[in-house]
Symmetry: C2
């Protein structure tokens, strides 16, 4: 067997830097493809194809008005990622506690 399919999966969709840039560009608003192209500096087909991937995994929604298509981010699509990452939250909280301890120690070191 060879490599696994990775597209059509939310986790992989945001694995691509360009797709993240596109999502960041759209942000909380709504943008036409042309506007995205102008902003991110990719070719139009490139943007269209990335948008297709994002659409298929449910990370963006599209609405047509005339010959424009406006894309908006579907925040709910990011929930699986957020909840998965959250599962490890305690791990970095513990780290922060340790960092706090360290800072306190350094402070005490200074005070002496």
């Amino acid at each position: 067997m060879a490599r696994n399919r990775t597209t059509a999966d939310v986790f992989n969709a945001i694995g691509d830097q360009h797709r993240r840039t596109i999502l960041d560009t759209i942000g909380t608003g709504e943008l036409a493809v042309g506007e995205i192209v102008a902003t991110v500096g990719l070719t139009q087909p490139q943007v269209s194809k990335h948008l297709k991937v994002l659409r298929e995994v449910g990370l963006v929604r599209c609405s047509r008005t005339g010959r424009h298509r406006h894309y908006r981010v579907n925040g709910a699509g990011l929930r699986p990622i957020e909840s998965w990452v959250r599962g490890f939250e305690t791990l970095w909280n513990e780290r922060y506690d340790q960092l706090d301890d360290l800072l306190v120690e350094l402070q005490q070191e200074e005070d002496r």
Copy 2:
């Protein structure tokens, strides 16, 4: 030009289902490679290589004891993802009415 490099990037590292499984398996504890292999049902070289990727992006740390190597998750490595996703948080909070989205997500989660 062809496709971009995607490995050596935290976002891509978790794009792979197997790597996520490995991280889930290690969880908040510490496991030797052999234990991971036994749990996830992948071959040993496969696991070792995925662990290498995870090491390179800083998502796991390794410590040697005898001929065993124990891996633990470095939660801090997930922070970039968490904070990026958080940037869209307002989007899903406002759209709790769209139950469809959630259902679609769950379906996708199941299909994998």
